[in-house]
Amino acid sequence: MIEIRWHSRAGQGAVTGAKSLGDIVATTGKEVQAFALYGSAKRGAALRAYNRIDDEPIITHEKFMYPDYVLVIDPALAMTDDITMNDKETTKYIITTHLDKESLIKEIPALQGKEDRVFVVDCIQISLDTIGRSIPNAPMLGAFVKVSGMFELDYFLENMKRVLAKFPQKIIDGNMQAITRAYNEVK
């Protein structure tokens, strides 16, 4: 089973991102779970979202997990939230930041020694450039596609179009650009 934990603020789209990811993964025949830890959270409050991916039906309903991937889509949360909680030797981190990897890791002692498993991408800037709003979830998905190697980019983009089908074409195009840019820019 692959487990993914998203660190986000309410309004940044982690829940939607997790659900979209689940939706697309399911099309490959896998079983998925996407959920979030939130309740009365208003826009701006920190929240965590989760994905599980497996070949078998997923029957655990615990929130507890040892994540294989930690996706941080808010730059400040990388510093303030416990992003390495319950991590493993193999946990990979994709972190939204305007910093380069070295500078970021310098700021976050918990990531030191895990340099080869840390990836950075500026999802905020990418979403501002492509979608016109700070919605860093779509670029994070592009970065995840690259880092995980779980899908071909084109396959992912095609399926994302279906997920976004209800939105205006402009939004769909922006999202496609955001995903592609992050795919190419994640380091």
């Binding site: 689940g22 079983e31 998925v32 959920f35 309740g39 009365s40 029957i59 655990t60 309903h61």
Partner: protein, 410 residues
């Protein structure tokens, strides 16, 4: 005519979306509802179907849950298919009318997204509201995941509307843990779903003016008891209909439901009895216990009311130690579910050891590890031949260990 809704063979739906799709497919005539977390999205999703022409029925957004169930009662007596959804405080506000709906034998379907009851205020999942409805005379079915929330919602119409049942039905799912967790769901096609549920055949139809009827007559001491007994018997007698509907559902979906779901119980020595998502999490724990050589199993009522006294007994009578998990603050007693399971087991020859765990209140995470600890307690009891812990314990609670009552056996 409603617009056609595009469905994939495999969808990724959360429990709320699953429940709202079942209502759309059942072609509900009236949905009267008031939103409350975490069941709000059921109402919102349905509202989106209305706004986009996917349903032909009426959507009545009332001013409270009490009014929601009241409008459902009026609508149901007027001869069509009726459904709604609620949670927690909204459920509590509805309680008065829940009894009236069942007393009038109206087959309303209520999707209950389980949530704790205040105070203190909490929006997350526990079973306090589900327990609050347990004497209300409704059939109560329990979904352990989103797929089941969908499947059981379809079955609910067919069971409740059956002329030999004519009772309202609740379909429970865990707040957030099911309602807001998207997972693979395999829906029926619209046609298959509606063919399965079938058309409602009204009874005592208030809109059939060739036969005017009076609903809600007053019965005093000379009549009330007979009516309540008849109603109770109808609930008890719903068992074969529930089983038939489950069998029919298996034919169209391939998914098999039973009044009591037993997992690895054939040779089990210790067992957890639980409700909701905890059932599945405990199954993962049981598998891990078996890796350690402990014969663990899980028993869960799929149908909480009518309570499957006989099936629970059959499933557990040969086990040595049983943990009954109550996700509701017991309020000065053993957990209600514990009491019911214990009563069933008291009638067996073997009389397994039975302990009670209060857990998961207000959505507190119940992890596989927690279930494994409970299994370990049961193994210790089984080996000792008596209960080695307090009879009522608390799992996942911070602070000094809390427990009540010691065994007098062993």
């Amino acid at each position: 005519m409603a617009e056609k809704f595009d469905l994939q063979e495999r969808e990724v739906w959360d429990g709320n979306y699953a429940a709202s799709q079942a209502m759309r497919q059942a072609k509900v005539d009236v949905m009267a509802a008031y939103p409350i977390t975490p069941s709000t999205p059921i109402v919102e999703n349905y509202g989106a179907y209305v706004a986009n022409g996917y349903v032909d029925g009426e959507f009545v957004m009332v001013e409270s849950e009490h009014a929601a169930m009241s409008a459902c009662v009026g609508a149901s007596a007027a001869g069509g298919r009726v459904a709604t959804a609620t949670s927690s405080q909204g459920f509590a506000l509805m309680v008065e009318v829940l009894y009236q709906a069942s007393g009038m034998r109206l087959p309303i379907v209520l999707n209950v997204v389980n949530r704790a009851l205040a105070s203190p205020l909490n929006v997350r999942g526990d079973h306090a509201d589900m327990y609050l409805g347990r004497d209300s005379g409704w059939i109560q079915m329990d979904a352990f995941n989103s797929q089941e929330a969908y499947d059981l919602a379809l079955c609910a119409f067919k069971i409740g509307e059956n002329h030999s049942v004519r009772l309202p039905v609740m379909v429970h799912q865990d707040g957030f843990i099911t309602s807001h967790t998207a997972q693979n769901v395999y829906p029926l096609t619209d046609e298959a779903a509606y063919n399965f549920v079938g058309e409602i055949d009204p009874v005592d139809d208030m809109l059939d003016f060739s036969r005017p009827v009076t609903y809600g007559a007053q019965t005093e001491e000379d009549w009330h008891f007979e009516h309540k007994a008849k109603q109770h018997k109808a609930l008890m007698d719903s068992v074969p209909v529930i089983e038939d509907v489950f069998a029919e559902f298996e034919k169209v979906s391939g998914r098999k439901y039973k009044r009591v779901e037993s997992y690895m119980m054939e040779d089990a020595e210790v067992a957890i009895v639980a409700l909701g998502t905890t059932v599945e999490t405990s199954r993962v724990a049981a598998l891990r216990m078996r890796e350690q050589g402990i014969k663990a199993g899980v028993v869960a009522p799929r149908v909480f009311r009518p309570f499957p006294f006989d099936e629970i007994r059959d499933a557990l009578e040969n086990v040595k130690s049983v943990a009954v998990l109550d996700r509701s603050s017991p309020g000065g007693a053993m957990g209600a579910f514990y009491n019911e399971v214990s009563a069933a087991l008291y009638t067996t020859e073997n009389r397994p050891l039975v302990t009670n765990y209060i857990y998961g209140l207000g959505g507190r995470d119940f992890a596989v590890k927690d279930a494994m600890d409970i299994f370990a307690d049961q193994k210790a009891n089984a080996d000792a031949g008596h209960i080695t812990t307090d009879i009522q314990q608390f799992s996942g609670l911070r602070g000094p260990k809390l427990g009540f009552f010691k065994t007098k056996r062993g």
